[in-house]
């Protein structure tokens, strides 16, 4: 059950009226609206938010590694609606065993590079992504640098060994 103070806001209320089961949690973090959903519903919910709530901008997609806690990864979608001057964050929790999400490139084309970056840095895969390759690291790189179990220094590719 979502907190009443959040259901009083227009966007969560609209989502609840459209499909009561789509949100798995919600909170206000320092005044910012954060909504939780699941892997199965992320594309539906994105499409609903874009078409019915005018979240035409996907500001970014990123990820948080909560290692060693499970579910380990939190995929974060920063959405923005220019007409309503409203921002919200969508989140999906992922276990390390199945760090896979459907891609939202079909909803916002701008998700393309951000999803590639999350894949590159965290190893979270995006199903249905048109071009899921590393974007910042070299193609031959092993491991995913922003994972918490990846060292800051002393990686085997570090310049020291060259």
């Amino acid at each position: 059950m979502l907190p009443a103070e959040i259901l009083a806001l227009p966007t969560p209320a609209a989502i609840q009226a459209w499909d009561p089961g789509v949100l798995s949690g919600a909170s206000l973090e320092r005044g910012d609206l954060v909504l939780w959903t699941t892997r199965e519903r992320i594309v539906d919910l994105s499409r609903f938010l874009k078409e019915r709530r005018q979240f035409t901008r996907l500001s970014a997609v990123t990820c948080i590694d909560r290692y060693p806690v499970e579910p380990r990864f939190e995929a974060v979608y920063l959405l923005h609606s220019i007409p309503n001057n409203e921002r919200l964050r969508l989140k999906v929790a992922l276990n390390s065993a199945e760090a896979v999400l459907p891609s939202v490139c079909g909803v916002w084309s701008g998700a393309n590079w951000y999803e590639r970056e999350v894949y590159d840095m965290f190893g979270v895969r995006f199903d249905g992504h048109p071009d899921l390759r590393r974007i910042l690291m070299p193609d031959y790189w092993q491991g995913h640098p922003l994972r918490k179990d990846f060292p800051v220094h002393g990686h085997k590719y570090s310049y020291k060994d060259e």
């Binding site: 500001s59 990123t62 920063l78 220019i82 701008g110």
Partner: protein
């Protein structure tokens, strides 16, 4: 056989014509070392004669792992990393990071620090636009503008040095306020510069606005419809040149921008020329904001009263035990930020910059994600290039005004 992606990736090679009727294409590797890519950007172009049929940007050459490094530094130390992302507008980056962390901390910033931040962020915008205009015009064959713009940039770097002791990597805006007290005579130095600026912007305009060569190279070039730009995650002057008057300084005012009187320039055409007009007018508006900031600069402290975050005054440390304890803790452990997460967007010269910071309650950030404008803007590159002449790619690249340090982080 059409070139496949792997053929594209291997760079420069000419495709032999295969079956009859198959188009003859050439793959051209532009960059990473190419003067008009303004940094180390590689674009793989597939050409049909002089027409670009496919463009594929390849980034990451300047990737230095700033987000990873941030997790290994103290909260206040990360400010120095933000300087090195978008090195033409580092004060906007400092500001965006500080605002996010201050949102987590719930810090109240005194008015003088807020106004000083506005003033510096606008000077950074003028600096960034001057560098953009100079290099963009140089790409299109107008060399004089470059010298004029770098003359203004030199004045600005001197002002930044006066404030912070550094010309480029200033780190002057810190969590909780400013790094140092503004130097004596700062208002005179800034006013001298800003009084002369509108005249100089007129000069740039006179050199380019009706210059037939410049017009031919820029008008109608690389226009992308507004809906596509928004869908691709483009922000800043590029969408204002395509007809949408959205600016975070007006839409979600931060650091007391709501107290300033300025306009958001908008153009409808969305081409390279419209972007030039928008940025030129933004320099004039920034000059207006800076003038207002000098005239109305509030008195008072230049940083927040938060001894658990910032080093206490020297005087208090000598007389109060608590101040001494706080000093010891801040120096030895670093400041602690309560657990939680925050995002605070800022309008940088290139568009929306925001730091999504996550804290676990410790003295180091758990995660710092940098939503940089150049990364989002660069996604529109393929649509600007495709179907256009190869010579237009130079104009289009320049008009996007990205900084590769900002793209790759």
């Amino acid at each position: 056989m059409n070139p496949t992606d792997t053929a594209l990736d291997s760079g420069l090679q000419e495709m032999a014509p295969e079956a009859a009727g198959a188009p003859r294409r050439m793959v051209l590797n532009m960059g990473p070392q190419h003067p008009s890519t303004h940094g180390v950007l590689r674009v793989i172009l597939e050409l049909d004669g002089e027409i670009v049929t496919k463009a594929q940007p390849d980034i990451g050459f300047l990737h230095t792992g700033i987000e990873k490094q941030a997790e290994a530094l103290g909260w206040q130390q990360v400010v120095t990393l933000t300087d090195r992302m978008d090195y033409l507008a580092n004060l906007s980056n400092n500001l965006a990071y500080s605002l996010s962390v201050e949102k987590l901390l719930g810090l109240e910033i005194p008015p003088k620090a807020q106004w000083m931040r506005v003033l510096l962020a606008e000077l950074a915008r003028i600096n960034s636009h001057a560098v953009w205009l100079g290099t963009h015009a140089l790409d299109l064959g107008a060399m004089t503008v470059f010298f004029y713009c770098f003359r203004e940039r030199e004045d600005l770097l001197r002002i930044f040095e006066m404030f912070s002791g550094q010309r480029m990597m200033t780190s002057y805006i810190r969590i909780g306020g400013l790094a140092l007290e503004p130097p004596r005579g700062w208002d005179r130095a800034v006013r001298n510069f800003i009084r002369g600026l509108p005249e100089k912007v007129d000069e740039y305009e006179a050199l380019l606005k009706e210059n037939p060569i410049f017009l031919r190279r820029t008008q109608g070039v690389a226009a992308v419809p507004l809906e596509r730009l928004l869908d691709l995650g483009v922000t800043g002057p590029m969408i204002r040149a395509a007809g949408l008057g959205w600016d975070i300084r007006k839409a979600e005012p931060y650091s007391s921008y709501e107290q300033f009187d300025f306009q958001i320039p908008v153009q409808q055409e969305g081409d390279v020329y419209a972007r030039f007009l928008v940025r030129l007018e933004e320099m004039r508006q920034s000059a207006r904001i800076v003038e207002q900031a000098i005239d109305g600069m509030p008195e008072g402290p230049w940083r927040a009263d938060a001894p658990h975050v910032l080093l206490p005054d020297r005087e208090k440390m000598k007389t109060q035990m608590e101040a001494l304890i706080y000093h010891f803790k801040v120096v030895t452990e670093g400041m602690r930020v309560p657990a939680g997460e925050a995002y605070a967007p800022v309008e940088s010269p290139r568009g929306e910059i925001g730091f999504y910071v996550v804290s676990d309650g410790g003295a180091q950030p758990w995660r710092v994600f940098m939503r940089t404008p150049s990364f989002g803007n660069l996604q529109s590159l393929a649509e600007m290039f495709e179907g256009r002449l190869i010579a237009d790619t130079i104009a289009a690249l320049g008009s996007m005004d990205f900084v590769l340090g900002d793209v790759d982080r």
